[in-house]
């Protein structure tokens, strides 16, 4: 029996997001949101542990209520419970204020293991796992590609570029799953039906949590973004030569010579 808490983020689908060239901010208008894909891998790892050892998977997210669609998705995959942590007071949080709230939420839950994704596709800081582990004073391993229980301890494999490391962790512990290491499962119709007909999603506002307003939201966020610089666009000439391969090759060589990119002896 393993009680696992997974944190997920509801993010704009950045594969289709544009940056406003004037303000440098994401244009989020009309962009459909999704569960951060790397977080789905965290859910998958939790579900595999539950499949193997039994137990319970609770998913939490700090987000506006639109994230309910994301929680429905992970419940559809097989998570048991979901908590939407949502309050205007939490808005504008940087990673410090976010991890503080998440840690306080997790503190109220009965857990053996906490799992996060490696990072999010909309900000890629990879802060949250480490910060929550600090708040809760838990051992933390990231880039985890595999986890199993052995003699009451959690044995995890951490994959680096040139090595696999194996760690043995006392529980409770916190791990972050290496991205692209697991293939998240599809939703099951019975799970989705349970979501719709039994409504297992709870919402916790700051009325429930009672956190100090100085530590949450914009006021609890010391991060200041001073400037965003856009990578300058490389001017492309977009010349296309249509015709015989041999002619095209000649044309290309000529062009490359003109540009001084090729010296022919």
């Amino acid at each position: 029996m393993l009680k696992v808490v997974v944190g997920i983020k509801w993010v704009p689908n950045t594969t289709s997001v544009n940056i406003d060239p004037n303000t440098g901010t994401l244009i989020r208008e009309g962009i459909p949101s999704v569960v951060n894909p790397h977080d789905l891998e965290a859910v998958e790892m939790a579900l595999r542990l539950k499949d193997e050892y039994g137990g319970k998977v609770t998913v939490i997210t700090m987000s506006p209520p639109s994230a309910i669609a994301g929680l429905e998705h992970v419940l559809g995959m097989g998570a048991d419970e979901a908590i939407l942590v949502s309050d205007r007071a939490f808005a504008g949080a940087d990673t410090l204020a976010t991890s503080y709230v998440l840690a306080k939420v997790i503190d109220r839950l009965d857990y053996d293991l906490i799992i996060f994704g490696q990072e999010t596709i909309d900000s890629s800081t990879a802060h949250i796992g480490a910060q929550v582990a600090s708040w809760l004073d838990l051992p933390y391993v990231y880039y985890v590609t595999h986890a199993e229980l052995r003699g009451g301890k959690l044995v995890v494999r951490r994959s680096l570029e040139d090595a696999h490391e194996t760690y043995e962790l006392d529980l409770p512990a916190l791990i972050s799953v290496a991205m692209h290491s697991l293939n998240p499962r599809r939703v099951r119709v019975s799970n989705k039906l349970r979501v719709k007909l039994e409504n297992p999603i709870k919402t916790w506002s700051n009325e429930v949590l009672g956190l100090d307003p100085e530590c949450i939201g914009l006021r609890g966020s010391p991060t200041a973004l001073s400037k965003i610089e856009m990578v300058p666009k490389v001017p492309r000439k977009n010349e296309v030569f249509r015709g015989e391969a041999r002619e095209a090759a000649k044309w290309l060589l000529e062009k490359l010579k003109e540009e001084g990119l090729l010296e022919l002896g």
């Binding site: 459909p32 998705h73 559809g76 599809r186 939703v187 099951r188 119709v189 019975s190 989705k192 039906l193 719709k196 007909l197």
Partner: protein, 428 residues
């Protein structure tokens, strides 16, 4: 196959206009309804040209005028015959709330929300693998290794009828029974759309184009104005077009956007979406499939219920209304004691009595007419030649009949011309 722990009176497959209309009508009557959709949100797999007729939807959905996502009411109809860079247009303007433009995904989401409002259960991201058939009766759906049971299944899976094919209930779709719609949605400022097309706020344009503007493919091009975008695309008849398509079909839409007569509209535009979808092209009453069986009804595009007149398309409202009639059939079969094929056959009668089949019957010759290639090349050329002679003559202007005779010569014989004319008049 495991039975899930929930049972339903009705399962509807596909949260498009047909599926949602069925589910809504039945849930409102107190039936326990499950609506399943494979897309991430309702309507995410739907594509249409751009216009929907409102009254059939008003009849089906309560509160349509208060909350449906209407972009613009179509007040301006323009039909153009194009040859080369010449275009003769016919335009009609009248302010009336008859049909509107929208995004179909928005409309489908709205419909699915209505289903939930009246107590129906809507599940997305659920791909049905198969209709479960036991002793000749459809008893539910299989999703992965799980089965959900119901008294009746309403199949509104769309034109690509994989479930009906797998169950051996319909033959494979033939090319001649399908058109291909391809379109781009191009974002433009709201005000600019109104300026470009001389529209007042909230007014919309439906513009259909025939001639070589489709790159020579048999079919037509369309442009619809949405709130802050336009939908530009073409519908080609697959049976004919498949022999002639030489490039990827997306190139044809691109050529349309860059056409000398059209590119001026999109200079400040940004392409938001590219999509393509099959369109049913059946001739009533010779549908190659039945629309009901024990425990099963078929509605919408899956049933082949769409009217294409060449100058007008009726798809979304027909689909929704057929879904509504399927729901009525389930109600009646329920009163008669069960979802047998015999009891459900009332669906066919309801369809026969409805505007859908009356219209499909009335216009049954339209698909054949649209196979006539002269409609796409000869006549637009002829018309533009006449107009050219009448208006691009600085000194001597010919009489209309003179111009017509000159234009006709070498293009089309009298016999063909008269028989084509008769065919068009009789068909539409």
């Amino acid at each position: 196959m495991k039975e899930v722990g929930y049972r339903f009176d009705v399962i509807v497959v596909g949260a498009g206009p047909a599926g949602s209309a069925s589910a809504y009508t039945l849930a409102k009557k107190g039936f326990k309804v499950l609506l399943v959709e494979r897309g991430r949100i309702p309507g995410s797999k739907n594509v249409f040209g751009g216009r929907v007729y409102a009254d059939p939807l008003r009849e089906v959905f309560d509160g349509f005028d208060d909350s449906a996502p209407i972009h613009r009411w179509v007040t301006k109809e323009r039909i153009s015959m194009v040859s080369g860079d010449a275009m003769t247009s016919f335009e009609f303007y009248m302010r009336k709330n008859t049909s509107f433009t929208t995004y179909l995904t928005e409309l489908a989401c709205w419909m699915a929300k209505k289903v939930e409002e009246v107590g129906g259960t809507v599940l997305t991201e659920i791909t049905v693998d198969e209709l479960v058939v036991e002793n000749g009766k459809v008893t539910g759906i299989r999703v992965g290794d799980e089965k959900v049971s119901s008294e009746v299944v309403i199949d509104a899976e769309g034109i690509n009828r994989l479930l009906l094919e797998r169950a051996g209930l319909v033959p494979k779709l033939e090319l001649r029974h399908a058109g291909l719609g391809v379109k781009e949605v191009i974002k433009l400022p709201k005000k600019e759309i109104e300026d470009l097309f001389s529209l007042k706020e909230g007014e919309g344009l439906a513009w259909l184009m025939m001639g070589d503007i489709t790159g020579g493919l048999p079919g037509g091009a369309f442009l619809y104005t949405n709130k802050d975008s336009v939908s530009l695309g073409l519908v080609v008849m697959l049976g004919e077009a498949v022999k002639e398509v030489r490039e990827h079909i997306s190139r044809y839409v691109e050529a349309l956007r860059l056409h000398p007569l059209l590119e001026r509209y999109f200079r400040n535009g940004r392409i938001m979406e590219y999509s393509a979808h099959l369109v049913p092209e059946y001739t009533w009453p010779s549908l190659p499939h039945r629309l009901y069986a024990d425990g099963l009804l078929v509605a919408g595009d899956a049933a082949g219920l769409l009217l294409n007149l060449g100058y007008n398309f009726r798809g979304v409202d027909y689909a929704a209304y057929s879904g509504y009639l399927a729901a009525k059939a389930v109600e009646k079969a329920h009163e008669m004691g069960g979802m047998t094929s015999e009891n459900l056959s009332v669906y066919e009668r309801l369809l026969e009595e409805s505007f859908i089949v009356k219209q499909l019957r009335k216009f049954r010759n339209a698909p054949k007419m649209r196979e006539n290639r002269r409609l796409y090349s000869t006549y637009p050329e002829l018309l533009n030649s006449v107009m050219g002679q009448l208006f691009h003559s600085s000194y001597e202007v010919p009489k209309v009949m003179e111009a017509f005779k000159r234009a006709r010569k070498g293009r089309v014989g009298w016999l063909d011309l008269i028989s084509d004319l008769l065919e068009v008049v009789r068909s539409v």
